[in-house]
Amino acid sequence: MNLKSLPGRTSRFEGCTVMGVLSVSAFLTDAVTLIHGPDGCSHINASLLHTTLAEHDIFRIPEIVSTGLGENEIIFGGEDALQEVLTDVCADDPAAVVVASTCVSETIGDDVAGICSQPWDCPVIYVPSSGFLGGTFVDGYTGTLTALSSFITPPGEQNPGKVNIIGEKNLEFEAEDNFQEVSRLLGMLDLDVNIRYVRDITVEDIGKFGDAGLNLFREDKCGVLGGRHFDACTGIPSLPEFPVGLSATLQFIRDAGRLTGRDTTDAVRAEEEQQAGLADEFSDLAGEYVTFDSFGFQSAEMDMFAEVAKAVGIRVSEEGTVIPIPPFCMPVGTLGLRRMLRQWRRFING
């Protein structure tokens, strides 16, 4: 495949913004997502979503509706179609309608924002996704998280013992396990999860967002979500990402304690013991040689892998067993590392 001459800030391979929108909106259980484009766009994304969820043993079919733009609308405009379908959808009284535009509706210049801003019988949230003309999957995902924050009611009394989990990667296979692991770590500091924004919650649940004393983002190292939006609109302090690595997990506990005014001494000590247990559990791998292969996918966090290898007594060498490292989803917390080491054992012994 010919990959040359990529324009600087864009990526050819990171998928469609509409899928990014659905990866969030489909997990708002009482909302409908309306895709303003040809039926094929809806099918592509609904099918990928359904297939992915089925692999995760989730058999719920999200409410996704299409305006079904055809050749006539391409020529004469699709605004009437959007108006008609939006009227039909609102008549069913959903808690909210998330409207996603597509590359087709953007190219023909439909005023989707204008139609969505009209008075409707239920809340209508417009996410300017625009298919590939609006960026990539990540842009749809962040745009939807940001757009849905309009449901956040003015903060009441913040409870420092509650934490919002923001931007879970709903399509990653380990989403639930990762959530369990961060819940365990937060629980060591007597912190409870307030809401999972957005994973299997209702529109009404979003209103409780402001009750939390801490925001924890799944992955927002650049601060696109936390720094620029949620921090500004809620004033709740935040942690930028789920912990990845041994020392990062300990630091995560310290940071969470610092931001919520809790003493972390006991929790850190307990987690250090948990991590020390890894070395015992995988002592059979001590002295083995491994090398890591990221398949050129990302600037892999090699330091983290080297740290884990060192903790278990594994040596890193180019001649060692090739360990494929996860291209997109890094292991979260200490228990994530345990599962990763089990895979390493299989590669080494296999």
Binding site: N2, S11, A46
Partner: protein, 330 residues
């Protein structure tokens, strides 16, 4: 006015059907001229190699031709013919994707099936209609084309091809072109007569002799073939149909000895549903309480287009809708 769809659309767009058709022809260097989001889905469905220009915003503004040229240039050494499948946005902006942009070669531009032009079966038919005018190959006189093979119909597409070939071999009739599971060169030289493995994706190439979907259809098709080809012997195929019918009768009688006839709801492609409905009602005395097709069913089909059923509508016979209570959903 657009057709509001109040359920997730059940069928991929025309682009996917067109790409599936062309990618099934060995020698065609298929390029989906569009964005990664469109391509990833098509590639996940189509088992044959498909390529993409992975368009980005800048190219939509300044023109996509050069990007197409780059990708075509890389494919030319491995392809007898470059086939460009256009997608919604390049089609909307109306670019001329002709030879200057295809590495100097004479490409086959499938411009008709951008996503908004219909569903997968529409795209499949439009792509085959875009094949250059083909002449019957004299060396294939006496042979029969097989169509209705679409690679996005796994595992049936491969099985259908093998079974069609087997039946034709039993009757002593050589197979000519297979649409679309053949070489490009073979596809460009069809025989005069065509049998279809799945009527929903009939190619429109050659003179249709009949369908191989269902026992009655097989018998009548081979009866027609016997009339057309005096050297053909449809006797072995008739024997196979009779043996198969005996097996079906035996299994269904066994069921009916201890059960009442079932009430059945069927969902799938119209061609398969009509075949299954015929089997159920003939051999099990079943009541077909619902028959929903993913694709637009042809005239005379038993099926209702599935989104209409889910929308609470019923067909002329009152089937579909929410009142049905199938005991055997298939």
């Amino acid at each position: 006015m657009a057709k509001p769809c109040t359920t997730p659309p059940l069928w991929p767009c025309a682009m996917v059907g067109a790409a599936a058709a062309m990618a099934g022809l060995d020698g065609a260097g298929v390029i989906i001229h569009g964005a990664s989001g469109c391509y990833f889905f098509a590639d996940s469905l189509i088992p044959d190699p498909v390529n993409c220009t992975y368009l980005v915003e800048d190219e939509v503004i300044f023109g996509t031709g050069e990007r197409l040229h780059e990708v075509a240039e890389a494919l030319v050494p491995f392809s007898e013919k470059i086939v460009v499948i256009n997608t919604c946005v390049p089609a909307t902006i109306g670019e001329d994707l002709g030879p200057p942009y295809c590495a100097g070669c004479d490409p086959l531009i499938i411009d008709a099936p951008p996503g908004y032009c219909g569903d997968m079966t529409d795209g499949y038919r439009l792509a085959l209609a875009a094949l250059p005018p083909t002449e019957t190959d004299p060396s294939r006189e006496g042979g029969v084309n097989i169509d209705g093979l679409i690679s996005t119909d796994p595992p049936f597409a491969v099985g259908n091809r093998m079974e069609a070939e087997r039946l034709l071999a039993c009757a002593g009739i050589p197979v000519a072109a297979r649409y679309c599971a053949d070489t490009l060169a073979s596809a460009m030289k069809p025989a005069e007569m065509t049998v279809t493995a799945l009527p929903d994706v009939a190619s429109g190439i050659g003179q249709s002799v009949g369908s191989l979907c269902g026992l009655d259809a097989i018998e009548s098709t081979f009866c027609a073939l016997s009339d057309l080809f005096p050297d053909a012997d449809s006797g072995p195929v008739t024997d196979i149909c009779e043996e198969t019918e005996e097996l079906v009768v035996k299994a269904c009688d066994r069921y009916l000895r201890v059960n009442d006839p079932p009430r059945v709801a069927l969902f799938g492609m119209a061609g398969y549903i009509d075949m299954a409905a015929d089997l159920f009602s003939t051999f099990l005395d079943a009541e077909i309480c619902g028959a929903g097709a993913r694709n637009q069913p042809p005239e005379g089909s038993l099926c209702t287009w599935a989104p209409r059923i889910w929308g609470g509508e019923t067909d002329d016979r009152g089937r579909g809708g929410s009142g049905s209570d199938p005991r055997v959903p298939v």
